[in-house]
Symmetry: C2
Subunit: 380 residues, 2 copies
C-alpha cells in the first residue's frame, strides 16, 4: 500500500518498521538459530534491560555512544535513563558486576532490540536488533579468532552464502598517524584523507608516515597479500606488535576454517567507537549492508574482551528462506483429536468459527492448502 493511501496513524517514524507475517517469523527463527550456535560453543545467554540509568549505560566504553542515545526521565528516581543503542556495553557491565566472580574466560551471548537516534537527514534503521557474543577476560589471537569462527558457523547454519570477514585494526593506523608527530590541524586533515581513502591527499599530508600509509591504503584486499604488504613495512616496534596480532588472528582463523573468505583493510577505522584491537565487519555478496561487526575492546576496569554482533534484520535477507507450517482448515464442529495430531506432525490448523455451506472455499480464502473433513486430510 502506498503510504499516501494509508490513514495517518499508519505512519511510523523514519527508521522504525513493522515486520509482517513471513518476515517476523524469519527474523525470530534466525535469531534463535544463531543463538543456538552460540550456545553450542558454550556462550550463555544473558538479557539486560532495554533501559538503564544514563550514568551506567554510557559509562566506560559506552561513553562513545552518547550521541546516538535517546534519554528518558524516570519519574520514580528523577534520574535520566537511556534507551540502549548497543548491548555490548551492557554485557560488559554484567560481567563486571553480577558476574564478577564467574570464571574467565566468560562467554556470554545476547539477543535484543536497540534504538539509535540516527544521523540527521539520513534515512536508516533506528531500531536495530542485535544477536551477539562476548568473550571476556582474555586477550589473545585465539580469542579474537574464536568470535569470528563462531559467527561464521552461525551464518553457515542460516544458509548465508558468500560471506566475507573484513579485518581491520583501527588502533594500528592511529598509532602510525600518531608517530608522524603532526599538529592537530594536519592530523585531522590526514585522518579525513584516510577515511576518504584519498591516496593523493594521504601522500601529501602524511609527513614521515606518508609512505607507510600509502602502502597500507593499497594493501586493502584478500588477507594473504595484504598481510605480506604489512610484513614488508618498516614499522616502529609498537606498531609491529599490533601488525603481528593481526597476522596471528588471520593464521588461527585459517587453521580452523581454511575456506573462510578473509579480507584485511588496514586503514579502515570508521564506525569503531570503543574498540582497541583487531576489528571485523561481516559482509555477504549481494548485501549492501553489513551483516555484523565486532572486535576487541576494554570492558569495565580495563578487562580485555572481544565480541561480535550479528544483525538479524540484515541476515534474514541473505539467509535460506524458512519453511512455514502448511495450513489445514478444520471446519466448525469437526472432531479435534486428528487436528491435534496434525499439529504435532508439523501442520498449522485453522479452526472455522462459523457454520458454512462451502468449507473448501473458506479454506482457500484463509490460505489453507488442506482441509480436514471426516478425519481425512484433503489437499485443495
Amino acid at each position: 500500500m502506498n503510504p499516501i493511501d494509508e490513514p495517518n496513524n499508519a505512519l511510523l517514524p523514519s527508521g522504525f518498521i513493522d515486520l509482517l507475517q513471513h518476515e517476523a517469523e524469519a527474523e525470530a527463527r534466525g535469531i534463535e538459530a544463531v543463538m543456538d550456535v552460540f550456545a553450542q560453543h558454550g556462550y550463555e545467554r544473558v538479557r539486560p534491560p532495554l533501559l538503564e540509568f544514563e550514568t551506567s549505560l554510557l559509562h566506560g566504553a559506552g561513553q562513545a555512544l552518547g550521541e546516538q542515545t535517546f534519554r528518558l526521565m524516570d519519574p520514580e528516581s528523577r534520574r535520566m535513563m537511556a534507551l540502549r543503542p548497543d548491548m555490548t556495553t551492557q554485557i560488559a557491565r554484567i560481567a563486571a558486576t553480577r558476574l564478577a566472580a564467574s570464571p574467565r574466560p566468560l562467554r556470554l551471548s545476547y539477543a535484543g532490540t536497540c534504538v539509535v537516534v540516527g544521523v540527521p537527514g539520513r534515512e536508516g534503521e533506528r531500531q536495530i536488533t542485535q544477536a551477539g557474543i562476548e568473550l571476556i577476560g582474555v586477550d589473545s589471537a585465539e580469542a579474537d579468532a574464536e568470535v569470528v569462527l563462531v559467527a561464521a558457523e552461525a551464518l553457515a547454519h542460516l544458509g548465508v552464502e558468500d560471506v566475507s570477514f573484513d579485518l581491520s585494526y583501527p588502533a594500528l593506523v592511529q598509532k602510525i598517524v600518531d608517530e608522524a608527530g603532526l599538529n592537530a590541524v594536519k592530523r585531522a586533515q590526514l585522518v579525513h584523507a584516510l577515511d576518504r581513502k584519498d591516496a593523493t591527499a594521504v601522500a601529501e599530508l602524511g609527513g614521515s608516515a606518508a609512505e607507510i600509509l600509502t602502502r597500507l591504503l593499497q594493501a586493502a584486499g584478500p588477507a594473504g597479500p595484504a598481510l605480506e604488504v604489512l610484513a614488508a613495512l618498516e614499522l616502529s616496534e609498537a606498531a609491529r606488535v599490533l601488525a603481528d596480532r593481526l597476522r596471528e588472528v588471520v593464521a588461527v582463523i585459517h587453521a580452523h576454517a581454511p575456506e573462510l573468505r578473509l579480507t584485511v583493510d588496514p586503514v579502515e577505522f570508521r564506525g569503531w567507537q570503543y574498540h582497541t584491537g583487531v576489528c571485523v565487519t561481516v559482509f555477504a555478496r549481494g548485501q549492501r549492508e553489513e551483516l555484523g561487526r565486532g572486535g576487541r575492546y576494554l570492558a569495565h576496569d580495563e578487562e580485555p574482551a572481544c565480541g561480535l554482533t550479528l544483525r538479524p534484520e540484515v541476515l534474514l535477507r541473505a539467509a535460506r528462506p524458512i519453511a512455514l507450517r502448511p495450513r489445514v482448515y478444520v471446519p466448525l464442529g469437526a472432531e479435534r483429536t486428528r487436528a491435534a495430531q496434525l499439529r504435532r506432525e508439523g501442520y498449522a490448523t485453522v479452526v472455522g468459527l462459523d457454520e458454512l455451506a462451502d468449507y473448501r472455499a473458506e479454506a482457500q480464502r484463509l490460505g489453507c492448502a488442506y482441509i480436514l473433513s471426516h478425519d481425512e486430510l484433503t489437499k485443495l
Copy 2:
C-alpha cells in the same frame, strides 16, 4: 550480591532487571515454545516496532494507555514518539492498515518487550515481555473461547501446572450499575465499593441494582455455580445478552477442554483498559502474579477482536525447568571434528584458549562436566 556492595553503575532503575544465564535462556525458550503453539493454531507472527508516533500508538483503544507510556521526542520529525506499554494496540493498527486486505478472521501472534511508567511509589516490573495472540474480525463465543483454549495449550506445553482461567465481563457490571440510574457521586462510590468487593457498601449504595450486585459479588468462584447464580438473576434484556455470552464462552471452552479450571468473577473489572466483552486473567497455583490476561475489544474502525497475552517472565517461574546443553572442555590444539560432532549431538563445547598443565582442573573451573581428550569424551 547485596546492592550496597555493588559499584554504582550496577544499579538499575526500579522495575528493570538483568536476567542471568539460566533465566535468560529459559525466558527465550519459553517465548519460542509459546509462539510455536500459537503458530500451530494458524496464528502468524508480526513484529511492530518498539516506538511509534504518540498519535498512532495511543489512538483508539490505545488512549487508555496514555498515563503508562513514556514519550520521546524524535529529532528527525520533531514529533513525539511513544515507547509501547502494550502490543495489542499495535497489532490492531497493523490489522487495520497494512493487513486491511487480509482475509478475516485474521490470526496474528507477537512477542516483544514493552515498557510502562509504573505506579508511583509501588515497586513492580516496568519492563514487561509479552507473547500473545489476537483473533481479529469476528465477534463470537467460539472466538472468545479459542484464545483461551490456545493459551491453555501453550501453558500445558511449557509444563505449567494447576492453571486457572478467571473469566469476567467488566461491561456487564457497568451496564447493571448504569441501569441503577445513580448520580455521578453515588455511582463512583458504588464502583469503588465493587472494586473493594465490599458487600455491605454495595448493598447500601446499589439502589435498585443492590440485590443483583450483591448476588453477583457472592457468585465469584468456579464457573458452573457462578453461571447458575447469573442465570437466576432478573437482568434487563441488554444485560442478559452479555450474561448469555459469558455462559456460551464457558460452554465452548468446556466442550473442548473439560478438564480446564475455569472460574467466573462477574464483578471483576480492575485493570481492563480498553476491553468491551468477556475478559480473562490467567493464574497458576503458587504464583501470586498473573500469567497473562486478555479479552474482547474493538480494534480500529470498531472491528471486533479478542486476544490473550502471556507474560514470559512470570511463566518461566511456573514452567518445567529447562535442560541446558552439557558442557565439554576441548583443550587448545585438540582436533575439532569430534567437537563439531558433539555439538550436533547436543553438547556445548568450550574451547581452551591457552596451553595448560592440568586440563581437567580447567574444565572443572569452567563448569564443564566432560573433557574431550584424544577424541575421547570423558566424564569428570
